[in-house]
Each structure stands twice: as structure tokens, then as C-alpha cells.
């Protein structure tokens, strides 16, 4: 099945190599194109100015050979000289002489004329044109007074082969090194990225080849400075993961042990009952069975609650606006019958104004239940337990009993999982206060344990952040 979102992200996965190449080569090639165009025009300028001079000289010497014979303007040039004039090894030269008074005098009739009239008739005019479908460079000389007094125009045209060759030579010397430079930059980026990312590839291999149990830090020798924060962050994560895992392992071992005890009780009682045929002997075993089963049920419920309250498992999006008064009253009410069994006076004292927080209702019920459960379980017969809610200075819920209390040195340890006070009466899972602390942490609340002002018993206060 294809997930369009993951497809899109795959398509957009940035490749360092491609990015670098793009960023480097696009501007380089653009610059190169501009440079090449500029070079072309500059080379053309050089070529023209070099060969225009020769063309001008040709036109001049041609002009010097103009004479008037029998009243007609003619060019006095031997045939051999003309041929020499017309040919060199690369280019063909054309010429034409026009007299204003006589019109075409001599040369190649199809000579292209200047695209525009000369601005300064005394100076030679250079322009490009075509003769016999060949590009030519033309120079036009305007002689104000020919031998017979009338103005004469001398035009000499030359095909562009030499010029083009020169342009090509110039371009080649300018552009070729640039092309090679760009190609080299590309190759360097390509291999540079590969070798630059080598440490990452090594890192990847180091991570890929380890087992999921190996949480030892990655070696960060030979790791470049840019990558070191990454290895350090990974090693940090590994360490925290390791701590969490070892807590989990210990927890599972503890949980299994805690479950085994009542289950062992169950088995023993069942075997005892099976051995007996006398109902009067079976009954007490059944009573014990029920007590053991209740302990297993209680413990498994507590384990489940703990799993749900764990950081990461609890989901802030489930938080709603909750008045501590309402939830404390509803939860506390359910405990009254249990308290009455021990003749304990379980009471409630609400705050005058609502004590609003944001929280997970089910988890908060568990928190309050566990606190009351503890107070009822470990309080004294005929004693008193008070659940109270305050709205100020911050929303808080307090559960106070007049039982035997918790010695000062144990007040931190009672929040540990499976820690039970020495000599405490049976039935508890040792998880109640651990659950309280986990749920409080999930809500960003603080738990404080002390002795009530009356001097005896236990007071546990959970202080929340206001909604």
C-alpha cells in the first residue's frame, strides 16, 4: 500500500550531493554562459580590428591606382597584381569602384552597400554583408574628389574565414579552461561529498551492525567536528534508553515476582482444597483463595494503571478541563463504604471556588483512588480521613489521615515501585504511591508528603498547575 505522504517525502528527500552540485554548478554554468558570450564579442572585436586594418590598407592601395584615361575612370592594375589582391590562402576578396559621375567603374557588381549613410564621409566605413551567400566584411572609402574631380567610392570586401578562425582560437583559449574548471568542480563535489560523508557511512555501519541490546556509546574518534554533535546526541539517547530499559527490566522482574507470590498462594490453597473432602475444611481454603485472587486482580490493575500513566503513554491530547472538586468528590464517594467497613470516617472538604486544571480524568481518578486506598488500608480502625481541595494558591488536593504515619526516612522511598514499609499490613501492591507520582508527573504536578498539623498520621498533597 502506498502512502502518498511518505511518497512525497521520499521524492523530497534532500541529497547532499545533488544539492551541492546544484548550488555550485547552476551559478557556475550561468556565469560561464555570460562569460562565453562576452568573450565571443570581445574576440570578434579583436579579430575585426586586426583584420579591418589590412582591409583598409587594401582599399587605400586600390584607391591609389585609380586613374583617368581618356576621360574615363579606370583602375590601373596589372592582372597578376589583381589576382594577388583577390586571393590569399584563406579568404576571397571582392572589390568595387563606383564613380559618382560614371557609376560602376570596376570590380564586383553585387557588392553590398552600407546599411546606413556614412556619418563622416572622410573616414572609412566598416560593415558586414553577404556576397554569393558568404558572409563578408566590407570597408568603404569615400574619396571626395577622384582623378576627374567627381567623388569616388572604393569598396573592398573580404570573406570572414580568417576572422572566424581568430575568434575561434581566442574563444578556445578563453573557454576551454573554464569548461574544465567547471567539470573539475563537479567531480570534486561528487567525490568530496562521498569522502566527506564517509564518517557518517561508518557510523551507519557501526549502528546497523549492533544488536538491539548493545547500548554502549558509539566511538567518536575520527568523527569530524561537524558530525560530533550527532554522535554525542545519539550517545546521550543511548544512555537514557539504557537507564529506562534497566528500570523496565527491573520492573518486569519485580512485577513477575510480585505476581508469583499470590499465585503461589492460590496454588497451595487449591491443592489443599483438592486434598480434602470435608466441606468445613474446604471453606477456609476458598476464603484464602478469594483473598489471593483479589490480590492478583488488584496488582494487575495497578500494573496496568502504571503502564498507562507512564510518560509517553499518557497523551496530553486527552486532557480536558477538570474541576478537582468534582473529581475528588465523585472518586471519594466510592470509597466511603470501604472506609465504613473499618469504621473510618472518610470526609470531604471542597474549595469555595472551582479548582480548575487540565488533565486526564481517568488518570486523576486513579491518583485520588490510590491515595484514599492507601489511607484506608494503612489508617487506623475508627480513624478519620479527609479529602480536601483548595483552589489557591494553586489547585491542589490533599488527603490526610490520622494513622501511624510514615517515618521521615522512608518518605522518599515509598514512592518507589514495589517499596513497602517494613511491617506494613498485607494486601497492598507497593505500587500505589508510584502510580500517584507517575500520574502527577504526567500532569506536571508536585507531590509532597508530610505530617498533619495535628501531629500524627500522613498528609499527601498534590499541587497542580492552574488550567
Amino acid at each position: 500500500m502506498h502512502n502518498p505522504a511518505s511518497n512525497a517525502s521520499k521524492r523530497h528527500t534532500p541529497s547532499l550531493r545533488r544539492q551541492l552540485l546544484q548550488r555550485l554548478l547552476i551559478p557556475l554554468v550561468t556565469l560561464f554562459c555570460f562569460g562565453a558570450a562576452a568573450s565571443y564579442y570581445i574576440a570578434l572585436g579583436f579579430a575585426n580590428s586586426a583584420y579591418d586594418r589590412a582591409l583598409y590598407d587594401s582599399a587605400r592601395s586600390l584607391a591609389q591606382q585609380i586613374k583617368v584615361v581618356n576621360g574615363r575612370t579606370v583602375i590601373d592594375l596589372p592582372r597578376a597584381a589583381l589576382e594577388m589582391f583577390e586571393w590569399d590562402d584563406l579568404d576571397t576578396t571582392y572589390y568595387r569602384i563606383n564613380s559618382e559621375s560614371e557609376g560602376f567603374v570596376f570590380g564586383h557588381k553585387a557588392m553590398p552597400d552600407a546599411p546606413e549613410a556614412p556619418r563622416d564621409a572622410s573616414r572609412a566605413q566598416y560593415y558586414d554583408g553577404n556576397i554569393l551567400q558568404q558572409q563578408v566584411r566590407v570597408v568603404a572609402l569615400h574619396l571626395p574628389a577622384g582623378p576627374n574631380g567627381a567623388p569616388v567610392k572604393v569598396q573592398v570586401a573580404e570573406t570572414r574565414n580568417k576572422r572566424n578562425q581568430l575568434v575561434h582560437e581566442i574563444l578556445l583559449t578563453l573557454v576551454l579552461p573554464q569548461v574544465m574548471l567547471i567539470a573539475m568542480a563537479g567531480v570534486l563535489v561528487w567525490f568530496g561529498v562521498t569522502s566527506g560523508l564517509m564518517p557518517l557511512a561508518l557510523l551507519e555501519r557501526a549502528i546497523a551492525t549492533r544488536t538491539h541490546r548493545d547500548l554502549s556509546p558509539l566511538p567518536d574518534r575520527r568523527v569530524p567536528a561537524e558530525v560530533r554533535p550527532l554522535t554525542r546526541a545519539i550517545n546521550d539517547l543511548m544512555q537514557r534508553l539504557g537507564q529506562t530499559l534497566s528500570v523496565q527490566h527491573r520492573f518486569i522482574a519485580d512485577a513477575a515476582h510480585q505476581l508469583r507470590t499470590p499465585i503461589a498462594g492460590l496454588k497451595i490453597q487449591i491443592e489443599r482444597a483438592l486434598l480434602s473432602t470435608d466441606m468445613d475444611e474446604i471453606r477456609p481454603a476458598l476464603g484464602q483463595l478469594r483473598a489471593s485472587a483479589e490480590r492478583v486482580a488488584h496488582l494487575s490493575n495497578q500494573l496496568l494503571t502504571l503502564a498507562r500513566a507512564e510518560p509517553g503513554a499518557s497523551d496530553q491530547t486527552r486532557f480536558t478541563d477538570i474541576d478537582l472538586n468534582a473529581i475528588a468528590r465523585e472518586t471519594g464517594m466510592q470509597w466511603v463504604p470501604r472506609a465504613l467497613e473499618r469504621n473510618i470516617d472518610l470526609g470531604f472538604s471542597a474549595s469555595n471556588e472551582p479548582a480548575r486544571i487540565r488533565g486526564d480524568g481517568l488518570l486523576l481518578q486513579e491518583l485520588i483512588s490510590n491515595l484514599i486506598d492507601n489511607a484506608v488500608r494503612y489508617g487506623r480502625d475508627g480513624g478519620s480521613i479527609t479529602v480536601s481541595v483548595a483552589a489557591r494558591p494553586e489547585p491542589q488536593i490533599t488527603i490526610e489521615d490520622d494513622g501511624p504515619g510514615i517515618p521521615a526516612e522512608d518518605r522518599e522511598r515509598v514512592f518507589e515501585r514495589f517499596y513497602r514499609l517494613p511491617d506494613s499490613p498485607g494486601g497492598g501492591s507497593g505500587l500505589g504511591l508510584a502510580i500517584v507520582r507517575e500520574i502527577a508527573q504526567a500532569h506536571g504536578a508536585r507531590v509532597a508528603l508530610d505530617t498533619p498539623e495535628t501531629g500524627g498520621g500522613t498528609r499527601i498533597r498534590v499541587s497542580f498547575k492552574p488550567a
Binding site: 464517594m333 466510592q334 466511603v336 465504613l340 479527609t386 479529602v387
Partner: protein, 226 residues
């Protein structure tokens, strides 16, 4: 002939425990261990109530329930679940479960829920409540103490009815308020206290007492005869 109950539960020990206990209570019980068989049985047989586990082989409980309701069967269904996630409960109820019990549960609780569901489905009128020699007849709105009718006002009757129907559990002042004057403004601060103290006097002689639970409300309980 007793009421017929179908238990669909794949854990043999739990199914056996429930069925033998319910037989003792006088029900006629059938047991099935997988969803597909249950679906078949529910199509062909008539039961008064079904106890349905969610995690079943071959067809899960939600689907059995869905198919049952799709056939427009009104029979009450009590869902058993090990998952106490709220979402599952709501999902179950939306699909037409009438009630749910979370494993592990007490047998007495299961039986009470079954009785309530069957009573509701048979449209049995509000019955009489009897605690500690005091009989409250909901239909006739009368309270009898050892055969003698007690003279109670409507509000005193309302308070007593609420407390007796939740005997052994705490009823808050808010709940009593809601029962006496639904949706209305709260009664005067101490009105409830006045009704309760008058009630206590009037039921003197019955073997029950109305306990004030500090800050929570009231709790009615049977008191053993001295």
C-alpha cells in the same frame, strides 16, 4: 422454566465458573467459545440475555454484536472486557451493548447487572424496595414500616427513594437536589438537611439508618438488629 442466557467466552475456566454460578441462580445457561458459533447460535436460538467477551477467536465480540444488532434483535447484551479503555466502552455501547463488566469482576456484581438488564428488557415496572423492615413501593408511592404506612411528603419520599435505591452507597446533596427539583435552581442551603432529619425521625424503628458522610452526602445502610 428459567431465563436463558448465552455465555460467549473463550477462557474455559472463566466460562465454567460463570455458567455454573448462574445455573445456581436459576438461569438456563449455554456456553460457546468462539465468535462464529455465537453468531450462528444467536441467529437460530432465542436467549433472554447474552454475555459476550470481546477478544474471541474466529469473530471478535464487536462483530458478533454488530451482526446481532443488524438483525434488529433487541435482546440485552452484557459485554465482558479486559480492556478498560474508555474508547472500547463507548464503542461497545454505540454498537448496542447494554452494559459492560471489566475483568476481573465479582460474581455478585455480574448477577446484579444481569438481573437489572433482564428486568429492563422485560419492562418490569419499578419494583418495591425492601431494606431493614422498611418497604418502599415505587408504583404506589407508599412506604410501609412493619405493615404501617408512613406519612411522608413528596420530597421526603423522593429523598428516601433515592437513598434506598442506592443503599450502601453515598448519595451527594447535588444528586438529591437533582432528584427533587430536576434542572431547577438549587434548593435552599439546608433544605436537604431538613428533609433528611425529618426522615430519620419518621423511620425510627426500622433497622436502617441514614448516615451523614462528612462533605460527601448521605448513605443509607441496614443496621443489624441489636
Amino acid at each position: 422454566m428459567g431465563l436463558r442466557i448465552l455465555i460467549v467466552e473463550d477462557d474455559a475456566v472463566l466460562a465454567d465458573g460463570m455458567s455454573s454460578a448462574l445455573r445456581k441462580y436459576g438461569y438456563v445457561v449455554d456456553c460457546l467459545a468462539d465468535g462464529a458459533h455465537a453468531d450462528q447460535a444467536l441467529t437460530t436460538e432465542d436467549y433472554d440475555l447474552t454475555i459476550l467477551d470481546i477478544g474471541l477467536p474466529r469473530m471478535d465480540g464487536f462483530e458478533v454484536l454488530q451482526r446481532l444488532r443488524a438483525r434488529r434483535k433487541k435482546m440485552p447484551v452484557l459485554v465482558l472486557t479486559a480492556r478498560d479503555e474508555l474508547a472500547d466502552r463507548i464503542k461497545g455501547l454505540n454498537l448496542g451493548a447494554d452494559d459492560y463488566v471489566i475483568k476481573p469482576f465479582e460474581l455478585t456484581e455480574l448477577e446484579a447487572r444481569i438481573r437489572a438488564l433482564i428486568r429492563r428488557s422485560m419492562g418490569e415496572a419499578s419494583p418495591a424496595l425492601e431494606i431493614g423492615g422498611l418497604t418502599l413501593d415505587m408504583a404506589a408511592r407508599r412506604v410501609l414500616l412493619e405493615g404501617r404506612t408512613l406519612d411522608l411528603t413528596a420530597r421526603e419520599f423522593g429523598v428516601l427513594e433515592t437513598l434506598m435505591s442506592r443503599a450502601g452507597r453515598v448519595v451527594s446533596k447535588e444528586q438529591l437536589n437533582e432528584r427533587l427539583a430536576p434542572g431547577a435552581e438549587d434548593l435552599a442551603e439546608n433544605a436537604i438537611e431538613v428533609y433528611v432529619s425529618r426522615l430519620r425521625k419518621k423511620i425510627t424503628g426500622a433497622d436502617l439508618s441514614i448516615r451523614t458522610v462528612r462533605g460527601f452526602g448521605y448513605l443509607l445502610e441496614a443496621t443489624p438488629r441489636a
